[in-house]
Each structure stands twice: as structure tokens, then as C-alpha cells.
Symmetry: D3
Subunit: 139 residues, 6 copies
């Protein structure tokens, strides 16, 4: 059971109502997700969070939408946040990654989670020269 009572759309007024409208229009959905309805208990926080999300996710930078969604999915997996894993599994699908691609993301995560803990556990010392990771395809 959710810990706090959400501010439902019909109860929203003022800045909360405006942010709700902006969320629905920006994301192209006809409802306000529970995450935002929970944040809305603190209107200044809701607004600042939404603005930060947009500044990071909606600006044209070095990363395309799929890559950002993959980072979001990876972070959410690391934190074990079922809510965000669910949302971003849908998101990477929308941006074109199929089941094979999702499995590949999880495979890369598998490899490096393992290596990270090996290195931490045995306190492996940094190399004196860079080695640019565990290889690629040239692609």
C-alpha cells in the first residue's frame, strides 16, 4: 500500500494543476502517473523535479533518447526499483529495443556487476596505463 495519499487530478489546483497538464501533454498520455501525484503533496518539489527531468531528458545533447532510457533502466535495476524498471522496460521498447536488445542490456549489466565486485573484494589496484574497457565490435 502506498505510504502517502496522492493528489488526484480532480483535486489539483494552481501550480500542481499546471504541472499535471504539462506532464500529460509533454508525455502524450491521458493520465498523471502515480509518481507525480505523490510528489504533488509538495508542489514546489513537484515543479522543480519536473523541470529537472525535462532539462535532462528533453534537451538535445550527446545522447539519443534510447541511450538515456537504457541508462534509466540500468540505474533502476541497480536500485531494485520495480516501479521504474517497469516504466523504463516499456520506454526502451517504445524507442525501438526489442526483447533481444533488452536481454543484451541485462547481459552487459551481468558482466560488469560481476567484475565490479571481484575488483572491490580483492582490492585490485588501478593499472598504470589506460586500457579502454573489455573490447568491442568496432561497431
Amino acid at each position: 500500500m502506498a505510504s502517502v495519499e496522492m493528489i488526484e487530478e480532480e483535486a489539483a489546483t494552481g501550480r500542481v494543476k499546471e504541472v499535471y497538464e504539462d506532464i500529460k501533454e509533454s508525455l502524450g498520455i491521458d493520465f498523471v502517473p502515480n509518481m507525480y501525484k505523490t510528489m504533488a503533496r509538495n508542489p514546489a518539489y513537484l515543479e522543480a523535479s519536473w523541470n529537472k527531468i525535462r532539462a535532462v531528458m528533453n534537451q538535445t545533447g550527446k545522447l539519443d533518447d534510447l541511450t538515456k532510457a537504457i541508462i534509466a533502466l540500468t540505474v533502476s535495476t541497480m536500485n531494485g526499483c520495480a516501479y521504474c524498471i517497469n516504466v523504463y522496460t516499456d520506454a526502451v521498447g517504445k524507442y525501438g529495443l526489442d526483447d533481444d536488445g533488452l536481454t543484451e542490456v541485462a547481459a552487459v549489466s551481468d558482466v560488469f556487476n560481476g567484475l565490479n565486485k571481484f575488483n572491490t573484494g580483492l582490492d585490485v589496484e588501478m593499472d598504470e596505463k589506460p586500457w579502454y574497457g573489455c573490447g568491442g565490435t568496432g561497431g
Copy 2:
């Protein structure tokens, strides 16, 4: 100080020596990284780890080399593994991401780490309909 004594290149024989040669050739470097020289205390483990790393990183799949390196960097950041953060910061640079791109990866990570813990802490319930993440640029 590293916890275990590594198998140095000049001491490597048999399968360990072969894997060391393959690592240097595949990665295009003239030394064996400490991580592999530590794994080499257990030759079967070294060989199986290297084969898995190659199966995941060197096959042509749905993700390009930069995207895989970004996942590796994100996972390593989540685990706080300084060794791998260092290696994969160099790697994403090699694959073309500059300082602005690195900052963008960290910014996306910032956003979702925050949201993950908000949702976990307040036990926010899953929405009944998918909403495909927090928006993008269309790019």
C-alpha cells in the same frame, strides 16, 4: 594494497599464457590489466570470464560499442567500483563521448537514482497503464 598476489606475465604458462596473449591482442594493448592477472590465480575462472566478456562485448547485437560502455560505466558507478569507473571513463572517451557527454550520462543517472529512491521510500504503486518514461527529444 591488493589482497592477492597476481600472476605476472612472465610467470604465466599454459592456458593462462594463452588467455593473456588473446587479451592483449583483442584489446590492442601491450600489457595484461591487473584484473586479469588477479583472476589468473584460478585459470579455469580466468578463461571462462574472458570468454563470457567476449561473448557479451564482442558480438554484433542490438547495442553499439558506446552504448555498452555507457552501461558498463553506469553499473560501475552504482557499485562504486573506482577501478572500473576509471577504465570505462577512458572507454567511453575512446568510443567518442566527450566531457559534455560524460556529464550527460551522470545527469541522467542523477535523475533516476533520485526518483528510484522516492518511489521505493513511499512505496508508490504501479500505474495501470504504461507511460514510457519521462520524455525525450524525439531524437
Copy 3:
């Protein structure tokens, strides 16, 4: 399904029974929580855990009960422990924090989880002078 069979109240004898009575009396409840009934498989561990919990939570120190409960809730959120999140969401409510306060705790957690990972991912170096955090209200 729980992994181990708990020691139910009617089966408790000796030191376990005494600790059970103390737990109920100290916490003002008419049942022994599952956590303690699981610990009871190892009576010495149950007793030492309960004594440590009391030493930390029941002594008059620098922190009031609400602050300690907020720390407990924050730690439990970080670990993703649904059992303890649930217990300490109730606890902070008992100590006077309403839904707006709970949202505020989650908002502060959101901010610093994000900043932590930004700093770790980019290996931001410590400043030479202290700066005492990201500001306050003077309150």
C-alpha cells in the same frame, strides 16, 4: 514464503520467553513481531540484538525519537527492505510526521541519491574548504 520457521509465542521458553515479554511490554504491543520470532531460532542472538536495539533507540541522547525513526526509514529505503519500510512508515507517523512530512523525507532522499551518484560517477574531487551542505531555511 519465509525461509525459516519462527518460534511462536506459545512455544517460547526460558530466555526467549523473557525477551518476548520484554519486547511486548517495551513496545506496548500485544504480539511479538515476526522479525523477533525469526531471530529466536538463535536465542543468544535474539537477546543480544534486542539489547543493542534498546541501547540505541531507548537511551536519551542527542537525537529525538522522530529523528531516529527518520534515519531508520531512510536506511530501510536505501536497502529496499519492504518489511522495515512498512514498520518505520508507521513509526514516523506515530511520532508526528504526516503525509507531507513523509513526502519531504523522500524528497531530500531523492536529491542526495542523485547528487551522490553524479559525484561518484564523475569522481568529483573534494573541495579544499568546507561548504556545509546545500543550504537551509535557518530553521
Copy 4:
């Protein structure tokens, strides 16, 4: 070594320069911390992050400044972020917590980290009735 080159104060222009001035004035310090100088590689992100930090930390809500700083320190400890542990150890001191108080924060964290993992490892089932935490002092 930091991963990306920071935007130093003398190189800041436009919105970055304005945010830098606001940070120094708001926090009452005569330098811009490295965290913000790193964020500044992405001006929109810097500005949105600073606005969110202020919305959460500078508004008068249910939690006082010390309590928010304790949450920040606890979160940073959980993430093992040395940079933020350092900043918020100084911050809780500024807000009045002495060495005994810092030890008390760490003691509460000790207790619940332990209990969290006990409950997760043995999959302890939620109790049917609330029990409001492990007790307090009435203070």
C-alpha cells in the same frame, strides 16, 4: 582524478555565471564547490539541479535543517559517496550536532542496516498489525 574538466568561475558566463553567484550568496561561501563546477558543463542541468536543491532544502516544511542534513548524511553513507559524506559531516556540525550526535546517527544506521539484511535474507513476512518501530525514549 576528476573525469571531466570543470567550468571555473572566471570562465563562467550567462546563466552559469548567474547560478554561480546565487550559489555563493545563498550558501554564504566565497567559492563555487566542485560539484556545481562539474554540473556546469551542462548549463540547463546545473540550473535545474540548483533550483530543485533549493526547492527541497530551502523551503520551510515539516523538517528542520538539521534533520534534512542528517537524511543527506545517511543517504550519502548508504551510497558510500565520500564527497557528500564529507560535506554533510561538516553540515550537521554547523547545525549543532557534536561528535556524540554523529556517533548516534551512525549507531542508528548500524542497527537498521543489520536488521534490514536479516529480514531480506530470511524473507521475513510482514506482520498483520503495525508495531511502530523498535521503541523510543518518549522524547
Copy 5:
């Protein structure tokens, strides 16, 4: 709901089919676990993962089967992975650990999770001399 469609046994061909047969024979079970059926979307990854698992778990080394299973359970608890906690709770039982033993594993985990965070939070400095842990029974 699982994120990707698994490769069911009757749909497996070529290397996937061979690995499936090897898994069932090696583990002495009459079905392929969901973890492997999910990995099978990427046959090279499935095969390399299975080979690494066998290299680590099936070789005769310094650790017996129960000790390895206890490490697996401890790691899974730390990551909060319900799937693996479940599998390895069964596994340690198969290797002879009863409910009292499981509780003991969780008790040791409780102690060190607590101490870890105490030391990290207060940045306790390493001692100049080794002290070989918190004591034992001589057994």
C-alpha cells in the same frame, strides 16, 4: 510480469538445445529454470554464462559446495534479488544447513552490515596493525 519472452524448451534448437540438456543433466532436474530460458534469447551469452557458472561452481577448489552456496545466498541478499534468494535458500538446505544454520548466516550478515555502515559513515581510519576480525570459537 517477466520483461522478455523466454525460449521454451520445445522451441530450443542448436547450441541452446545442447546447453539446456547439459543444464538439466548437470543439475539433476527435469526442467530448465527461467533464468536460463531468458538468457537463451542470446545463445552466445547463455553458453558463456553457463560455462562460467560451471567453471566456478563445479571445480574442486578451496571451498566446499555449502560454503559457495552460502556466498551465493549472501550476495543475493545484499542485492535484494528475490529469485536468487529463493533458489539459494533451497540450495543451502540441500547442502545440509537447517533453519538454525540459515538464521546464523543472517545473523552474521546483520552484524557486518551494521558495522560496515558505521565505519563508512564516520570514515573510521584503518588500523596500523591487523586484528583478524571480531573473534571466533576456535572451531
Copy 6:
């Protein structure tokens, strides 16, 4: 730099002094480790922590000393606590595990950290029947 000033041995009195003596005698060392000298700022906490540590580590139960030390090392690795990794690397050595054994502990940790995150990321569903882990040697 450590966050709080420790209670040095020559400054210890009363219960703190008694616990210090007990620690040195029980562990067979001629100094009090920094962890305990930090805890000593809160004497009731020091005493209760030491009693819990002894109840868990010094009782004869189902696990031998080496197995408990391996759990302690694994937990400390997962938390990235350099202080405890250091202490317990020495401890497992004292209990007989050599460099090959340490590497084996890290290899098992590598495998399951990887698998944990694969299963969490793809939300792999529990199997209907138990399968007792990824195999062993029969030893």
C-alpha cells in the same frame, strides 16, 4: 580524516575501559581497533555492539569460524567498506584461506552479482519447482 574524535585507551574509564580490556583479551591483540574506539563515544552502544558481536561470532553453532569470516568479507565487499574488507581479508587468511581461496570467494561473488542483476533487470519469474542452485562438486 575520521569524522569524530576517538576515545583513546588511556582516556577510557568505567564500562568503556572494561570493554576495551575484554576486546583485547578476547581477540588476542595488544591494541583497541579504531572501530571500537569510535563506538566508545557512546558507551552503552559500544557495550551492546560488542556483546552482539560476541553472541554471533563466538558461539558454537552451525558455521565454523572460516565460514563466518567469509560471510563477513562478502558482506563488506558488497557494501564497499574498505576498512572491513581489510580486516576480514586478514581474518580469512588467519583461518586458513590462501590467495587461491580468496580468489575463489571473489569468483563466486562475481558470478552471483551478475546473475542477480540479470534476474532483477528482466524481472525473471520464480520457477514453480526448486532447483537447488547452479551445481556443485559433490564435495
